[in-house]
């Protein structure tokens, strides 16, 4: 009976609560607006863009810009749209993600459960590597890729992404495996299992969450990369981010903002899709890489 009095919320509380929701929704609009504008712009024709405003709706759905962005727009030298570069990105991302994830998993497994002299020190050194500004390694890496004969190739880019991605993937797996009890590995060793058998039969089957987190993290990082792409790719091995930047900055005739926006959405689509489908893991990757970075 006494809690009836308690339950009555004051008018002030109600007002505050409404203000809270209004603020949150307004902020949600602010975050969404750029994407909405991009989408609207990509569906307008040049005339509508010139006469209308950012948020004015297109008169009709016009997919001309999308078609052009995909296969006709000029990106620097050629005018084949961003489709070839979109595929380039996949050719870079898929091997780079797979290799860096596998190497990271094995490294994490060693660092947590097969420590040797210096392994902790090495981990600290690797961790520091997560943080260096990549400008410090650009010139030597460019030289090295030249020596190895993979300058301006997809394999060269894959190599670069693996080398600098492994620091993160190792960190993710190490933090995850650190929580796996050491006794599990000890029991398996007494049962007669070796290094790889334990990894494959016992550790890997319980690693699904961290594998998903790592793959998503690496996929997003490498897909969104621009620096390595612009520094180490050739004309026909450019990733989509570089092509997009070229497309936007190519001033061939009149500026077609609708094409720019369509191309930008296309370039963002894979990672956005991953985010929408597996947001939980994406956030976990971000915070894991961050909180324990």
């Amino acid at each position: 009976m006494s809690n009836i009095a308690k339950r009555q919320t004051s008018t002030l509380d109600k007002v505050l609560r409404v203000a809270l929701y209004v603020t949150l929704l307004a902020m949600a609009f602010v975050y969404l607006a750029p994407f909405i504008v991009m989408l609207l712009t990509s569906l307008k024709d040049v005339e509508e863009i010139r006469t209308g405003t950012l948020l004015s709706l297109p008169a009709s759905l016009d997919f001309y810009a999308w078609g052009k962005a995909w296969s006709g727009a000029c990106t620097g030298g050629t005018c084949e749209g961003i489709a070839p570069y979109f595929l380039n990105s996949f050719q870079i991302v898929i091997p780079a993600v797979l290799i860096s994830t596998i190497v990271g998993a094995l490294n994490g497994y060693v660092i947590s459960h097969w420590k040797f002299r210096g392994s902790n020190f090495f981990f600290a050194a690797l961790l520091l590597g997560c943080f260096i500004p990549f400008q410090v390694i650009l010139l030597p890496m460019a030289k090295t890729l030249g020596w190895l004969g993979v300058a301006n190739t997809t394999s060269g880019l894959v190599f670069v992404h693996v080398v600098y991605g492994v620091a993160f993937t190792t960190l993710f797996f190490r933090n995850f495996y650190q929580a796996v009890p050491a006794e599990l590995v000890k029991a398996a060793r007494l049962d007669g299992a070796g290094f790889f058998t334990i990894f494959y039969r016992i550790i890997l089957p319980i690693s699904t969450p961290i594998i998903v987190v790592t793959i998503i993290w690496q996929f997003t990082q490498i897909w969104n990369d621009f620096l390595f792409g612009v520094a180490f790719s050739g004309f026909d091995t450019q990733p989509v981010t570089v092509a997009l930047n070229n497309l936007v900055n190519t001033s061939f005739g009149g500026k077609e903002y609708n094409v720019d926006m369509a191309a930008a959405i296309i370039a963002a689509l894979p990672t956005l899709l991953v985010y929408v489908l597996a947001g939980k893991y994406f956030v976990r990757g971000l915070t894991a890489g961050a909180v324990k970075g």
Partner: protein, 369 residues
């Protein structure tokens, strides 16, 4: 089945010496219990025996064979961990047969072995479950099953029952004892539980700071502790340590202390005290040796009555602990619950020193060895 010899084993982590020269040898079929405060190196010693940690110095032999640097899988040892360490992605049956699979035992034999072990431990109905679907007691049984399936030469148990509730712990204790009697295998077993140690062990090794303080049968450890640490560690409530002065009475050495009045207690080995006449020593007297006056003990050689002041009483069911203070040391006395007393009362108690021991105040070593 095997015997185990541990010779001067040392283990260092960096500058820290965790094991400082351990010497233990265990006969085939023996049940050895390791006890000691947490952090004293029990698990490290177990891991060294199993080959999971490489020792820094010394030698480990199993069945006369030097295995100091053999890999764990070649030692044919099974271990049960406090956390059970069941493989979470495998069913109970797979957990039990994993070790056999690794040793390339054919499938039919593995299945036979799994059902044998499951029958022995009554876990047949759990075989298809994953560890996450088991209760603590069931997990414990599976962990034992995994160890049993391989029929190893030797078992290591590292606090296997610590995560169980009291009732289950007693049940499993009995079961482990039965298993040992039935299989007759060599077992090294770490525990925190006094009763577990006393009931299960053929011999007990008491460890402290990486050193074995005493190795002996449970009764030896209990009645004849090597030093103050062992005396205080084994037994619950712990042995009382009362400062007492060595005096001469009727031509033999005895111990004088002050309760409500001055008391002189005779000592079974007075000669051991003769070198300390006039000095203060620590008298070690177990609580059950200070009781209410019992008529049948009246007049026995080492029994003396004295008055004490009751500080606290702690009824424990079968007995009541009466806590008093003698020479500024807290002293527990075990009395019949019927012998009621209130805090502040002065009552008569009977001191039986027939099993008393004395320690040097400084070195904490036994004086009457």
């Amino acid at each position: 089945m095997a015997n185990l010899v541990i010779e001067n084993v040392k283990k260092r982590y960096g500058q820290n010496e965790i094991l400082k020269g351990i010497n233990i040898s265990i006969e085939t079929g023996e049940f050895l219990i390791l006890v000691g405060p947490s952090g004293c190196g029990k698990s490290t010693l177990m891991n060294s025996i199993a080959g999971l940690e490489e020792v820094s110095d010394g030698r480990i032999m199993i069945d006369g064979q030097d295995v100091t640097f053999a890999s764990p899988k070649d030692r044919d040892i099974a271990m049960v961990f406090q956390s059970y360490a069941l493989y979470p992605n495998m069913t109970v049956a797979e957990n039990i047969s994993f070790g056999l699979e690794m040793r390339k035992v054919p499938k039919e034999e593995r299945e036979k072995e799994v059902s044998r072990v499951a029958d022995m431990l009554q876990i047949g109905h759990l075989l298809k479950r994953k560890p996450a679907q088991l209760s603590g007691g069931q997990r414990q049984r599976v962990a034992m099953g995994r160890a049993l399936a391989r029929r190893p030469k030797m078992y290591l148990f590292d606090e296997p029952l610590s995560n169980l509730d009291a009732k289950l712990r007693v049940e499993m204790r009995t079961e482990i004892k039965k298993l040992h009697q039935k299989l007759g295998t060599t077992i090294v077993y770490v525990t925190h539980d006094q009763i577990e140690a006393m009931t299960l062990a053929d011999r007990i090794a008491v460890m402290k700071d990486g050193e074995v303080q005493q190795l002996g049968t449970p009764q030896e450890i209990y009645d004849d502790p090597a030093n103050l640490f062992v005396a205080g560690f084994m037994g619950s409530p712990a042995m009382n340590f009362i400062p007492a002065q060595v005096v001469e009475q009727n031509g033999v050495c005895a111990l004088s202390l002050k309760t409500q009045s001055n008391v002189v207690l005779p000592f079974p080995k007075p000669d051991a005290l003769s070198g300390h006449l006039g000095q203060t020593v620590l008298l070690g007297l177990r609580p059950e040796m200070i009781t209410e006056p019992q008529p049948h003990k009246e007049g026995l050689e080492f029994v003396v009555k004295a008055d004490i002041e009751v500080e606290v009483t702690e009824p424990m069911g079968a007995d009541t602990m009466i806590v008093t203070r003698i020479e500024n040391a807290e002293v527990n006395c075990r009395s019949n619950p019927a012998y009621s007393a209130q805090p502040g009362d002065t009552i008569a108690m009977m001191f039986d020193t027939s099993k008393a021991v004395v320690f040097d105040c400084e070195t904490e070593e036994r004086l009457d060895k």
